[in-house]
């Protein structure tokens, strides 16, 4: 039964990805009109345009071009970037690696950032600390990532000059340089993800702390700290795992803005540059990858929900 459910979910994810590829192709190669003059500019020579049309197979019908492109992408043949004339795969890998490192750092900060406020709030529920943290998380939830990034930049670069204003990393950057470059962008991403999880975890924890098994543990005379971390927290965390997976969907788009604000050379800033220079094949691939990450994270969230919450298994089946 679960297998069938998971299989169905995988199938819809694949179908969605196919739809996305059609949307991307349409937006990049059909809607903007004459691709060649858009890429090369109004005053480009006819020979240059003809060469570009040849390279991108623009003379063939759109539907054939779409399947040709899709087939190539599926076989891992990503093509050549227009602006730098290098294979797209070579350009992508270092950027994706950087973004993965950034995301890993963001997740590493996210976990304590979601846990500690929730635990503090649950222990002091309905006291002023609880209300204060609630107001702070509510305000942080209202502030968009773009602004949060700027505010952090102003606080930690201008008022407390601890960190560099631009998070540039090169292959020769050492560990300390990497850490300095990563802190602010990772913190921004982590805060955006953590506020919602922290609010949810607080409510869950307060429910769990009133449950029978926690009362039992208290009556056995276990210290409150042990009750919290061993008996209450694991039970409260389970429902937030779904949210955590959903948070990864945020990363797929969040890195685009955050990397640009901090000047971090990752996948997101590569996408922005591709769009700026109208680098057709690179735009297609980067958008497709971002959507892929989004769909995968969503899939993960659904699978987590199906596996962790038995009730859902029956309702959906």
């Amino acid at each position: 039964m679960i297998l069938r459910l998971v299989g169905l979910r995988l199938f819809t994810a694949a179908l969605t990805l196919l739809c996305v590829s059609a949307i991307v192709f349409m937006a990049v190669e059909i809607l903007p009109g004459d691709v060649a003059s858009n890429v090369l500019g109004q005053f480009s020579s006819e020979t240059a345009r003809a060469a570009l049309r040849e390279q991108l197979h623009l003379d063939e019908p759109a539907i054939e071009r779409y399947f040709l492109w899709l087939g190539n992408v599926l076989r891992g043949n990503l093509g050549i970037a227009l602006s730098s004339r290098r294979p797209i795969a070579d350009i992508l890998w270092p950027r994706i690696t950087n973004t993965l490192i950034l995301s890993a750092a963001a997740v590493a900060i996210y976990i304590p950032l979601a846990l500690f406020p929730a635990v503090v709030q649950a222990v002091n529920r309905n006291r002023s600390v609880d209300h204060l943290i609630s107001v702070i998380t509510l305000l942080l939830a209202s502030i968009p990532d773009f602004l949060l990034a700027l505010l952090l930049l102003i606080i930690f670069v201008v008022f407390l000059p601890l960190l560099p204003a631009v998070s540039i990393v090169t292959p020769s950057t050492d560990l300390v340089g990497w850490l300095k470059a990563l802190i602010l962008p990772a913190l921004t991403l982590a805060i955006v993800m953590a506020v919602y999880a922290a609010r949810m975890l607080r409510d869950n924890l307060i429910d769990v702390l009133e449950a029978q098994h926690v009362l039992m543990a208290r009556l056995r005379g276990l210290p409150e700290r042990r009750v919290m971390w061993i008996h209450a927290l694991p039970n409260a965390i389970v429902p937030t795992l779904n949210v955590t997976a959903l948070n990864f969907t945020y990363l797929a788009g969040g890195v685009v803005i955050v990397e640009k604000v901090f000047g971090f050379p990752g996948f997101g800033s590569l996408m922005i540059d591709a769009i700026r220079f109208r680098d057709v094949p690179l735009v297609e691939i980067t958008v497709l990858i971002a959507s892929c990450v989004y769909i995968l994270a969503n899939l993960l969230a659904d699978l987590a929900a199906i596996l962790l919450i038995p009730k859902l298994r029956q309702e959906r089946a």
């Binding site: 996305v20 991307v24 990049v28 209202s142 971002a290």
Partner: protein, 293 residues
């Protein structure tokens, strides 16, 4: 059937205000202040929006220049005042267009059902699977170089980003209602789909859609500013806040006020709309989803 008159269950404006949560009142007050500034801003601004030589370039906060002076000697405070109506109008127009498109698609899909509904859902799902900022960038790209930088393009971008999300919401809200007897009755009377959608489905989903509109409007200014910041939004020298932040990004160490000014103006606008929207949601008995942007 509740019809349009009772859509929000509000009879007395006075009761409405008395029962409002405190956050709603704070948010609304802030919002009214913003609207006032947007209206009279250009008249009270000490300098012109593109006036150069107003003070020493790249200088910080001072009495004459509360938000400093930018690289080419423009007064940032005046530019923020001039830009206020732009961000508010573009946000409202974009979200309204997104709401109109999204609710039409969502309600129609729920009402027609069957294969049509299934197909529409797949397409919506695909649009939602492109992260909103990436979808916006894709829309800017698809519009081509001719339309780049026009304010109208931002309205379209917001509408395209929001419409699929609103459609999903509207469909979910309407699924509950299409099975009611009065909808069946209307269908059997031979009313056309658009008529049923307007007279039966829209009023009954209105409070959901209103909250959705308010919450989305809250995020729209940030989206516009983000696009301005990335260089794909309204083009300089128009005093769009995001574009201003981008212009002054390099001055952050020398004159942080030039970035902080437009940045905080934007932050408080977003907070004001969000507080109002959440208060509204609570009053209308809707749950508020604070999930990831």
């Amino acid at each position: 059937m509740i019809g349009w008159a009772g859509a929000f269950g509000i009879s007395q404006p006075r009761d409405f205000w008395r029962s409002a949560p405190r956050n709603f009142k704070i948010g609304l007050a802030l919002l009214v202040a913003y609207l006032a500034i947007a209206t009279i801003g250009p008249f009270i601004a000490p300098y012109g929006a593109t006036e150069i030589g107003t003070g020493p370039p790249v200088s910080g906060m001072s009495l004459q220049h509360p938000m400093g002076v930018d690289q080419i000697g423009r007064d940032v405070f005046s530019r923020v005042l001039y830009g206020a109506h732009l961000v508010i109008l573009l946000s409202l127009a974009g979200t309204a267009l997104g709401l109109a498109l999204g609710s039409l698609i969502g309600l129609l899909s729920a009402y027609v059902g069957g294969f049509f509904d299934e197909a529409v859902q797949r397409i919506i799902e695909a649009f939602v699977s492109i992260p909103y900022i990436v979808l916006g960038l894709l829309a800017v790209y698809a519009a081509g170089p001719e339309f780049a930088g026009r304010p109208a393009l931002m309205v379209l971008v917001i509408a395209i980003v929001y419409a699929p999300r609103i459609a999903r919401m509207a469909r979910a809200a309407a699924l509950d209602i299409v099975t009611r007897d009065y909808v069946t009755a209307a269908r059997l009377r031979g009313e056309r789909p658009m008529s049923v959608i307007w007279h039966d489905l829209t009023p009954n989903t209105a409070s959901t859609l209103l909250v959705e509109f308010a919450l989305r409007t809250g995020y729209a200014p940030a989206l516009i500013a983000a696009f301005g910041f990335l260089g794909f939004g309204v083009q300089p020298p128009t005093p769009e806040w995001g574009a201003m932040i981008s212009e002054n990004r390099n001055l952050i160490l020398l004159a942080p006020a030039t970035v902080l000014g437009p940045g905080l103006s934007l932050a408080f606008l977003v907070i004001a709309v969000n507080l109002t929207a959440e208060g509204l949601a609570r009053m209308l008995g809707q749950s508020v989803d604070l999930s990831v942007q």
